[in-house]
């Protein structure tokens, strides 16, 4: 919202300025599309690099476990990319022309902490965990297998927990009030 307002701060409402607004809107549209495409490219580059190193493996220096690690990373990136794409589309294409009740319901669903898309993130998180574990497993042979697995989890799980807590805090501060408000209005509207 702020971004849009800054975009057209000095815009006043008459004829000639409509043209300038249109130009700015077109620029914003193409900027959004660019950001989205750039992000997709980043994922694609990761997938190609990991696919090349671990799966195609031109130097034939990777064993079966390395290849499995590569597959885990690539699948993780693909799912992350897909979830990002979904989120991006959902947030950038909020349809304000829906009836108010429908708009409120969508907002309430969008700002739900435990929605299906959030749960899907668990899959790439586990895949990357499996990839790192397999990768470490075959290197630190001085440790017992359980110690090697434990070592990865000691680093990985706290990182995940901290990231999750930061996410929940941001949700609680920014999105929960919006969801509560939307639900309250919806309740008032329907009763």
């Amino acid at each position: 919202m702020k971004e849009n307002n800054q975009l057209i701060t000095h815009y006043t409402v008459n004829g000639a300025e409509i043209n300038s607004l249109i130009l700015r809107l077109q620029k914003e549209d193409s900027r959004n599309l660019k950001t989205f495409k750039n992000f997709q490219w980043i994922f694609l580059v990761f997938i190609i690099i990991y696919g090349f190193i671990f799966i195609v493996n031109p130097f034939l220096d990777r064993g079966l476990l390395d290849r499995i690690t590569g597959i885990c990373y690539i699948l993780g990136f693909i799912i992350f990319g897909w979830v990002f794409r979904k989120y991006y589309r959902e947030y950038k294409t909020i349809d304000y022309s829906l009836p108010v009740a429908e708009m409120l319901q969508k907002a309430a669903n969008r700002y739900k902490l435990r929605n299906r898309k959030t749960l899907i993130i668990i899959i790439p998180v586990l895949l990357i965990d499996a990839g790192i574990t397999i990768s470490i497993f075959q290197r630190y042979t001085a440790f017992t297998p359980w110690e090697r697995i434990g070592l990865v989890q000691i680093m990985y799980i706290p990182t995940l927990i901290i990231s999750f807590l930061i996410g929940v805090w941001i949700w609680y501060k920014k999105q929960k009030p919006l969801r509560d408000e939307a639900l309250k209005l919806l309740d008032e509207l329907r009763n």
């Binding site: 307002n5 815009y11 249109i22 809107l25 349809d95 304000y96 022309s97 108010v100 708009m103 209005l185």
Partner: protein, 174 residues
Amino acid sequence: MLLKEQQFKQVVEENRDRIKRICHFYAPTSEDQKDIYQEVLINIWKSLDSFRGDAAISTWIYRIAVNTSLSFTGKELQRLKLNITKDPVSLHYLLDDEEESGLKMKEYQLNELEKVLNQLSVIDKLLISLTLEKLSTREIADVVGITEPNVRVKIHRIKLTLRNQLKGNSHEGK
């Protein structure tokens, strides 16, 4: 893109007053009105591709204007202030009272009305703003997304509340 541009200009041109009135209802200051107006235009631009003509253009515009106004106020929603034009005819739409709502209505009574309106809940304010726009029950139902009977009941209830509160205030005034 050229077609979208022309369509956008035409829609804005034809609905400028309508959008401005809705912005006026929800924004306390002229600066806020300008901000909401800009935001409504941005959302019209964004939604233009998805307009398939299923709803009347006026309904579509009202939806965007109302949704944007609600989103714009965000967390401040409870403090959302409804501004009515100091026009005695408005009173007629709210109170269904021919005698009382004549042009003789005094300004202080309209101010009272504005005060009472601002004690209403956000949804009631929303329904009243659309009533003041002279939308039919059917059109309000289309904009808000609830059934026509539900709109009728709600508006009837709001009008009763307004009438009672205004009567109470006028007795106190005496």
